[in-house]
């Protein structure tokens, strides 16, 4: 965990860093994230400690990424909170699945809000019909599944797209990756509820806005082709989940903002 490097970097631009950290003395901060804890707890501890010291002064590019992530998590959490509360919508296996997903999305909201502190954006108001494009999302089970899949697969692509922007901060990058893989598990399971394969094939899925999978058919990475003799091309596309830029994600999400 590169908390030392972060603090070293920050201290170069902020001579008062160690004063800000005075209530978390350097020694105790580092002890707190000692070797053992580093493996599991450090991302959280480090994020919280840096943030406690800094208030709104986390590096702005990181604040921007985390607020972008928080916005997506607000969307997902509210979608599942309302869905779970909608009488008759989610029963049986669907209720089991969405109860677990709801738990995770609310945890992600809390984690990101705690990390951002006062820099956290407020929860926007949502319109899950997307201005009428998806009528009755909370009474039509198939519409609910379709939107859920769109949000989860978009979430996977969104976190993936932001990972390189977090490369300077090990704890925050690692935390983002640990959320990213959870979103992928959710996406896989929701797809199965719809009778879809758990992995994205090509660049379409019935009923889901095409922007969600735009470019996901790629089979070329670092200029290396993954078209391999004996493997159907669509299965080569399944092996790679492509990133989406923040702009492309916002285009998908904006219709759902009230």
């Amino acid at each position: 965990m590169n908390i030392q490097a972060i603090i070293a970097d920050l201290s170069k631009t902020d001579p008062e860093l160690y004063d800000r950290l005075e209530h978390v003395s350097r020694r105790s901060l580092f002890n707190m994230i000692g070797r053992k804890a580093a493996q599991v707890a450090a991302p959280l501890v480090a994020m919280a400690a840096v943030n406690r010291a800094y208030g709104q002064a986390l590096p702005q590019p990181i604040v921007d990424v985390l607020n972008f992530a928080l916005t997506l998590e607000y969307l997902e959490a509210e979608f599942y909170n309302v869905g779970m509360d909608s009488a008759g919508l989610l029963t049986g296996t669907a209720r089991t699945v969405y109860g677990q997903i709801q738990k995770h999305e609310n945890a992600h909201v809390k984690l990101l809000k705690d990390t951002l502190g006062t820099a956290a954006v407020a929860k926007p108001a949502f319109d899950f019909t997307a201005k009428g494009a998806f009528p009755n999302p909370f009474s039509n089970y198939q519409v609910y599944l379709t939107l859920s899949q769109a949000f989860e697969d978009t979430g996977v692509r969104a976190y993936k797209g932001q990972a390189p922007a977090l490369i300077s901060s090990d704890p925050i990058l690692t935390t983002a990756l640990r959320i990213h893989s959870v979103e992928a598990r959710h996406a896989a399971r929701v797809r199965m509820l719809r009778g879809e394969k758990p992995w994205v094939t090509g660049n379409t899925s019935p009923g889901v806005p095409s922007a969600v999978y735009a470019g996901d058919e790629s089979t070329v990475h670092l200029e290396i082709s993954s078209i391999i003799q004996g493997i159907p091309v669509e299965q080569s596309t399944q092996a790679w989940d492509e990133p989406l830029s923040k702009e492309d994600v916002l285009k998908i999400v904006t219709p759902f903002l009230a």
């Binding site: 002890n31 493996q39 945890a107 993936k160 959320i179 959870v182 299965q235």
Partner: protein, 257 residues
């Protein structure tokens, strides 16, 4: 310059184009120069050269060579080391899936067969990618031993498949922070979510209609964060099936207090 940092033809003895990295953390200091070096396409060789003087067995095993049981295989250093680490895991996972699909367990359904065939084919593309991208820096082909798995028994196969997919996901989650090059990090991200999808799919076969697909055993129910493991935690687990000894000694490590 669109050339990937990984695609240069490595010299016999990679030549450093970077300033000598001082004592303090090869990786952090290295990153400062990486942006400049990327333009030359020599990030990887430089990185390798700077950090380890003489690898034990790799790089140089070459992508077509076979390792021998008991060899110590140095995964290498810098981003190459991290990518070789991923390549080792992909080799191990793929071999397991090949054995599953070569002769399916008793009473496998058509759906289950299709899932495993697609898992295998996706892992082939991952393995081939790492093999090509690493070129002559690739570790050799590993010797894998799955005699502890009962390939006739559904539970034995599914338990192993599940453990592998969970392990791979946690390994990529923990390895991202070890990469210095943003392009390599992006590639790792493109692969890890597919591993997570595999994990969810196999868990659904093993424990259908439950929360297992994203169970509390792999995702902290309070934080919603999945497990991340470092190489020195992953390799001992994978070593159950790998007959060579993978050395993580030269891999980048996260800073500790």
């Amino acid at each position: 310059m669109k050339a990937s940092p990984l695609q240069q033809q490595p010299a016999q003895k990679p030549v450093s184009v970077l300033p000598v990295v001082p004592l303090f953390s090869g990786r952090r200091m290295f990153m400062r120069y990486a942006g400049v070096a990327t333009a030359t396409g020599l990030v990887m060789s430089a990185c390798t050269n700077n950090i380890i003087p003489e690898p034990l067995a790799g790089p140089g095993g070459g992508s077509t060579a076979n390792a021998r049981i008991g060899d110590v295989i140095d995964l290498g250093s810098g981003d190459i080391g991290v990518l070789n680490y991923a390549y080792a895991l992909e080799q191990a996972e793929l071999r397991f899936l090949e054995l599953v699909t070569d002769n399916f367990y008793d009473n496998a359904t058509d759906v289950e067969k299709q899932v495993f065939l697609e898992l295998r084919n996706q892992e082939i593309t991952h393995r081939e990618f790492f093999k090509k991208v690493l070129g002559s820096y690739a570790i050799p082909t590993l010797t894998l031993d799955y005699s502890s798995v009962n390939f006739r028994n559904r539970d034995s196969v599914l338990d192993t498949a599940m453990a592998f997919a969970d392990l791979a996901t946690s390994a990529y989650n923990g390895a991202g922070q070890l990469l210095s090059n943003a392009t390599n990090l992006a590639i790792s991200g493109i692969i890890v979510s597919v591993e997570a999808r595999h994990a969810a799919a196999v868990r659904e076969l093993r424990y259908p209609n439950t929360t297992s697909f994203a169970g509390d055993d792999v995702i902290d129910p309070v934080t919603g964060l999945e497990v991340a493991r470092l190489p020195n935690e992953v390799v001992p687990i994978a070593s159950k099936f790998i007959k060579e000894n993978l050395s993580t000694a030269n891999l980048p490590s996260p800073m500790t207090a």
